[in-house]
Subunit: 414 residues, 2 copies
Amino acid sequence: MSYQTPKGTKDLIGEEGEKFQKAIDVVRSVFEKYGFEPWFTPAFETFELLSAKGGLGEAVKEEIYYFKDKAGRELGLRFDQTMPLARIAVSKPEIPKPIRRYAIAPVWRYDNPQAMRWREFWQADVDIIGSSSTLADAECVAAAVEALEKLGFQDFLLRVNNRKTLDDIFAFIPEGKRKQAFRAIDKLDKIGSRGVKAELDKLGLDSEKILSLVSLSGEEAFEAVKGRRGEAEISSFFDYAKEYGFFNKLKLDLSLVRGLEYYTGLVFEIEAGKGVSFGGGGRYDDLIKTLGGQDLPATGISLGLSRIFEELKSREPATPRSKVFVAYVDEGLVKEAIRVVKRLREAGLRAEISVSGKKLSSQLEYADKLDMPFVVLVGEEELKEGKYKLKSMRERKEEVLSLGEIIERVKADA
Amino acid sequence: MSYQTPKGTKDLIGEEGEKFQKAIDVVRSVFEKYGFEPWFTPAFETFELLSAKGGLGEAVKEEIYYFKDKAGRELGLRFDQTMPLARIAVSKPEIPKPIRRYAIAPVWRYDNPQAMRWREFWQADVDIIGSSSTLADAECVAAAVEALEKLGFQDFLLRVNNRKTLDDIFAFIPEGKRKQAFRAIDKLDKIGSRGVKAELDKLGLDSEKILSLVSLSGEEAFEAVKGRRGEAEISSFFDYAKEYGFFNKLKLDLSLVRGLEYYTGLVFEIEAGKGVSFGGGGRYDDLIKTLGGQDLPATGISLGLSRIFEELKSREPATPRSKVFVAYVDEGLVKEAIRVVKRLREAGLRAEISVSGKKLSSQLEYADKLDMPFVVLVGEEELKEGKYKLKSMRERKEEVLSLGEIIERVKADA
């Protein structure tokens, strides 16, 4: 018999598990510093809710894990963390606004697995519900940017656009064809401007004009949005970014046309290299109302944590599972060894006691294999003086010390 | 339209979300101190794997969320964290042993929802794979006990039994009836000894003898296990417990007969009051071999975190979402307010800036409603001297201070 993870999913174990947990902790600590609070929602939601996003309806079944429970209730694994949040905003109008919540958890999509694309993957989201201020957008983006920086990333770009501005600038495209035109533009990275041109031509649109507009950058792009709807949001967002310190990462980018059935104002995408997205977001002022709730403006950004982690893990140095390993010469010393490991843990050290029941040399081999920097050796001889052998595995050095001295020595090791 | 969480599931949001995250952190920090490492596995597994536990086979379908993906693959949401761990132990024999892993995550069971029983609930597990030593059992239990203590629980009992001892003592029950007899004994809490007696009588067994054995406690229970198989494990476990410091919580309890198709040696149950279980575990030396893996001894314990949290949350004091709320007199001061909140966060404080776009009095009301202890007020007048108003919301006190002084003042507040 052999068992595997289901298609499109994977384990994160051993050293990878440690590193992933660390990455979660880094992101969390930033989100919390910004006053976002952790909300936990179930892994699955009613199909009624899931199918309400962007008016997808039944079609969403193709993209999600859909199932019925034994009473015939239609359910599905959540495909994002925004719909559960919107559900709560709709059903609990009494929660004080603005809401600031974060969620770091897996989501599931029935996608075609490929490099950096899984059927189960983690997202780290921050959202603010109940504020129409561009400051709310800036707060979410600032938190996401700082999280990436604290993870060690510097070279990423924040593409910025505005749904309203886009609709205004491209008002010359007949409304019936705008969606298809944007879908073509969205493929710029994949099929290049020549490919996009062909698709726009096929739609009978002025492909030259459209392509020249979406390829504007820097000052030219700002010129193009001047006097357009949403301009004030764009300029105050860029202004705020100066204060937060992420202005130098911004790019006003009229070719950013993703998720437009859903976003209503500013939209963002974090690009970490050509075609590599670390996440994105934007303002979705209509969602909660559409679901039958109050008219509540909302904005947020989602980091693709699984993908980010793939980029990260090769850089992050490995950390040993435990700082100290407590070994003992023979079974008669087990209780003494328990006393030692207990004291080490009380001192806040990550410490492990040998449970292999093997002889000393095997215990040491194991500590070495798991890269533990220190071994405390409990032996009859040293015990007579109330002392233990401390082996520094890196320096291959041994000293006979009291437990107090050992704790001091290990703690001093960075 | 109204949306709800699916039957048997619930949200943990706002203050509850904060408290739950804190509880997770407490448990995690203990587990890590013991050298357990975090492993992440997918929410769903192949049905082939899930159906292999305890020889349940097809019958497990009734108890889990079972579904097929679009390619017809049979899947199910995990119902525990042990089967995913066992899968990895089977399929990755190269991982150095002993493995020490922890997992704090939701699991799903298609159970009948009732008080303290949900279809989605969180478990916090520690397991050691690859050690047959009773010390491994003691390490897992010690970690679980310390986690509960760090959460603030003192009055719980650790019921201990041993599958081998049980089989030896009750060898007088014909093997074909033993399972049913144990199932009856397992209902002692629910139906009382009279009810159990009736069931045992119906099986044609010596109900008096059985009931008198399972009701033994203290010295008498130890007398009963003397000379029986597994006695050495029991006594060394109790011995080790003295060193770890949880001896006073132990109760040798021959009526603990749960999960016997699965456990092979010591078994544990944490009882936090009559009929209230905070979790349990034990040794499962056969599981990995049964799944087709190496002959790897294994032991572990699982805390029912959702249930524990229900007991906990009323005791835990509420903490404000943010320590400091930055308000401003008018929109012209937003950028100055961003500078302030940025500095507060850089100082490590959990700080939030007003994004409501409302006038000052509403901003203050909001900070009050969310119970934030401090408000920094950015106003034209104080700014002239490079200062800000610090409002202490609890003491209803105002001071005009520099940002450095504000940080000091807020940090000094416990």
